[in-house]
């Protein structure tokens, strides 16, 4: 095919994307999650994980935590676009490396195998407050709380030890100290 002479806009210099965590307070009403998620998909932003639940039953407020990647310019846009949505009350965002913020995720691992393998799994999870939620002769459900990256690592590590199923909540975030997001 001969080279087209057609002119069109091409993307130019790209900045390096970083991982950010957004915390969004919204009215807990029908369709609000679709608005937030639709904004991300419609404008081509990433969602790495998403956690949402009502946090204030009186004021009817839900808290959405979204892990996303983007260049600083894209992250700015995400914040500003989210803020424009009518049911959104406030938006906070911070970098994954931010030391002032706790950033946790819970995972459930189902391990099937002999006792010694399950023991090995528990041992491997030691750092992450493992809790056994269910146990039979040949299986166990282990709950851990850790950083996203750590869960990624554990997920890989436990595979050869009989991990058959993983369920994760997606990250949630909270500031350290007395300070709250504003």
């Amino acid at each position: 095919m001969p080279k087209s002479k057609s002119a069109y806009s091409v993307p130019t210099k790209k900045q390096k994307p970083d991982t950010y965590i957004f915390v969004v307070w919204v009215d807990n009403e029908a369709g609000v999650l679709a608005r937030v998620v639709g904004l991300f998909s419609g404008r081509g932003y990433n969602i790495e994980s998403l956690a949402v639940a009502e946090v204030d039953a009186v004021k009817n407020i839900s808290r959405i935590t979204i892990v996303t990647t983007g260049t600083p310019q894209v992250i700015d846009q995400i914040r500003l676009q989210l803020t424009k949505l009518v049911p959104v009350h406030k938006v906070a965002e911070f970098k994954r490396e931010d030391k002032d913020v706790i950033f946790k995720e819970m995972a459930l691992f189902k391990v099937v195998g002999k006792r010694n393998k399950i023991e090995k799994c528990l041992n491997a999870c030691k750092k992450f407050n493992p809790v056994i939620l269910d146990e039979t002769k040949s299986s166990a459900v282990i709950q851990i709380t850790a950083l996203r990256r750590e869960i990624d690592v554990m997920n890989k590590k436990l595979k050869p030890l009989g991990l058959v199923s993983t369920s994760r909540t997606g990250a949630v975030a909270m500031t350290r100290g007395a300070k709250i997001f504003n």
Binding site: K5, A7, K13, A34, G42, L80, K84
Partner: protein, 588 residues
């Protein structure tokens, strides 16, 4: 105990309290209760369109020309899907619309009922906000909130989906709240420090340019007034986006014409070479900026906009002022006036050299074209139309394509709200229904749709609306038998492979006019053009004007997409000159 009203009654109560005078709509099963209630509200006039897209565009024309929100009423399913194009158009161009759609009864939602569709799902990405009213007690609050959302901040379309059972259900009516709850979305909190910073920049600049956009129009007539004062105070050159035309007088010497892809040579070069760029109510659209990396490389950039998400979206700016254009510019003007030592005088001498440069660019006369005695040149047709209508307070709408750009280049607007065009979405078929809406808002004014024959056929059925309400709109078709802009791109960029851009079987527009019951006028000879245009203007009623123009004319100047401002393709005269000099194709 207060009287209980039905949902349909509440809808009209709200419309009355919001001072709505006209609604554009089309009835259907799921809105029949609302249509039934229409007869009891004589202050609200319903305009029956021929297609829901037409209702949406008519409401856009109404809103853009009057500053009031346009109201649309459609039924469920196809009624709602047909209006999606108009909602998206309004969203892109920040036009306040309130669309009320019927929905199947609540207990049938989700069952794939007859004429059911997920209206709020479909319209979520093309409205500022939308509501599905499932409880009659929410209806009045939602209706009033809808008007607030549509008209405050950066305006835009909203949609309220009302199931049929809710239209029959009864509740108390609640009046609108006086205080506006902004939910943390206040957009007018700029500081005096920012203004001071800008005024300091103004006094230092040697090569400034003001680039104004549709935000000035949306901010109201006072914004245009303030802008004019600002331009006069500073003596700076000003250019405008497509949507901003009319905010500053098009025939003034400080106005460089439109900028961007089909903007003038002087405006684009000034944008490229300036040292201070002041964006007032525009959004650095890709048709304006061209290649981002090479956009105005040596300038300090200031952005005044009511929408914080417009700031730094495409172009990083040095100073951002988030606020309503009227209040920001008025503040700037006051601050300039307050500063001592006659800032304006000293500054005007600073930029004298810059004006000399601009005059040099102007000499290129980049809007030139080679006129002809044999065929009507489209640019000439627009120029004649302008000359013959400029003394009237004329409102112009357009479709999308070459004719739209020629209208923007050659028709000079002196007042805001006189120019209605689909810029962001670029919707062919916008102009005719928009003209209907404009004429409804301004019954005594001359309203012209400068159209292309391909675009106008997309919403031609609205001629029937114009005839029904005796709206004397003039459809001025620059008929070149091609989708002209498509053909132009194919000629310049796709080796003249005119793939599907020629319309083989165009209708006879004279007969079409007759069929619709309006007047048809045809012109194909430059010598008769003026008389025919005059005949169109003088005729009291809708007119379809079939102006046969040179089919091979291209719209110049042009920045090919993805190129910077200083690489424009100029018109035929310039290309000719460069050939003689052996320079080949002109990329200046």
């Amino acid at each position: 105990m207060p009287k209980l009203l039905t949902g349909a009654e509440i809808v009209f109560k709200c419309l009355e309290d919001q001072k709505v005078e006209h609604i554009f709509g089309y009835p259907g099963g799921a809105v029949l209760p609302i249509y039934d209630e229409l007869k009891n509200h004589p202050s609200i006039k319903h305009i029956l369109v021929r297609h829901e897209q037409g209702a949406g565009h008519a409401a856009e024309g109404y809103a853009r020309s009057s500053g009031k929100p346009g109201v649309v009423l459609v039924t469920s399913g196809p009624g709602a899907t047909n209006v999606v194009t108009a909602l998206t158009d309004a969203y892109m161009d920040s036009v306040p619309l309130v669309c009320i759609s019927g929905q199947v009864p609540t207990h049938l939602i989700g069952t794939d009922a007859f004429q059911e569709c997920d209206t709020t799902g479909i319209t979520r990405p093309c409205t500022k906000h939308n509501w599905l009213v499932k409880d009659i007690n929410d209806l009045s609050k939602v209706m009033h909130e809808a008007f607030t959302v549509a008209t405050t901040g950066r305006p835009g379309p909203v949609l309220i989906d009302i199931p049929k059972d809710i239209q029959f259900a009864k509740a108390k009516y609640k009046k609108p709240n006086k205080e506006k709850k902004l939910n943390g979305k206040s957009h007018n909190k700029f500081s005096q420090d920012q203004i001071d910073e800008l005024v300091t920049l103004l006094s230092k600049t040697k090569k400034p340019i003001i680039y104004s956009g549709g935000g000035v129009i949306n901010s109201g007539p006072k914004a245009s007034q303030a802008l004019r004062e600002f331009v006069e105070l500073t003596g700076f050159p000003i250019t405008s986006t497509l949507q901003g035309l009319g905010a500053y007088p098009g025939d003034d010497n400080q106005f460089l014409g439109m900028l961007g892809m089909h903007g003038t040579y002087e405006a684009n070069n000034a944008m490229h070479d300036c040292d201070l760029l002041i964006n007032i109510g525009a959004r650095f659209d890709d048709r304006i900026t061209g290649k981002i990396d090479e956009f105005s490389p040596n300038s300090k950039k200031v952005h005044i906009d009511i929408d914080p998400s417009s700031i730094n979206k495409i172009i990083k700016v040095d100073l951002a002022i988030v606020g309503d254009v009227t209040s920001v510019i008025s503040k700037i003007n006051k601050t300039i006036a307050k500063r001592k030592n006659g800032h304006s005088k000293s500054n005007k001498s600073n930029i004298a050299k810059w004006w000399e440069q601009i005059e040099k660019w102007r000499e290129k006369d980049s809007l030139n074209f080679v006129n002809s005695d044999e065929s009507i040149k489209p640019q000439h047709a627009v120029q004649r139309l302008y000359e013959l209508t400029k003394d009237k307070d004329t409102y112009v709408t357009t479709e999308v394509g070459q004719h739209q750009m020629w209208a923007a280049q050659h028709y000079k607007f002196n007042k805001p709200n006189r120019w209605m065009t689909s810029g962001g979405l670029g919707t062919m078929g916008y102009g005719l229904p928009a003209a209907v809406g404009v004429q409804i808002a301004h019954p005594e004014k001359l309203v012209i749709d400068i159209a292309g024959e391909a675009s106008v056929l997309m919403t031609m059925q609205e001629m029937s609306t114009a005839v029904q309400y005796n709206l004397p709109i003039k459809i001025f078709i620059l008929n070149n038998q091609y989708m002209g802009m498509v053909r132009q791109w194919q000629e310049l960029l796709h080796e003249k492979n005119y793939s599907e851009s020629y319309s083989e079987a165009l209708p006879d527009f004279m007969k079409m006019a007759e069929a619709y019951g309006c007047k048809g006028i045809k012109a194909d000879n430059p010598a008769d053009l003026d008389d025919k245009i005059q005949e169109m203007i003088d005729y009291d009623g809708p007119v379809i004007f079939d102006c046969h123009v040179d089919p091979n004319e291209n719209c110049f100047p042009m920045i090919p997409s993805g190129k910077p401002h200083n690489q424009m393709i100029l018109g035929p005269k310039d290309q000719e000159e460069n050939k003689i000099k052996g320079k080949g194709k002109a990329l200046v």
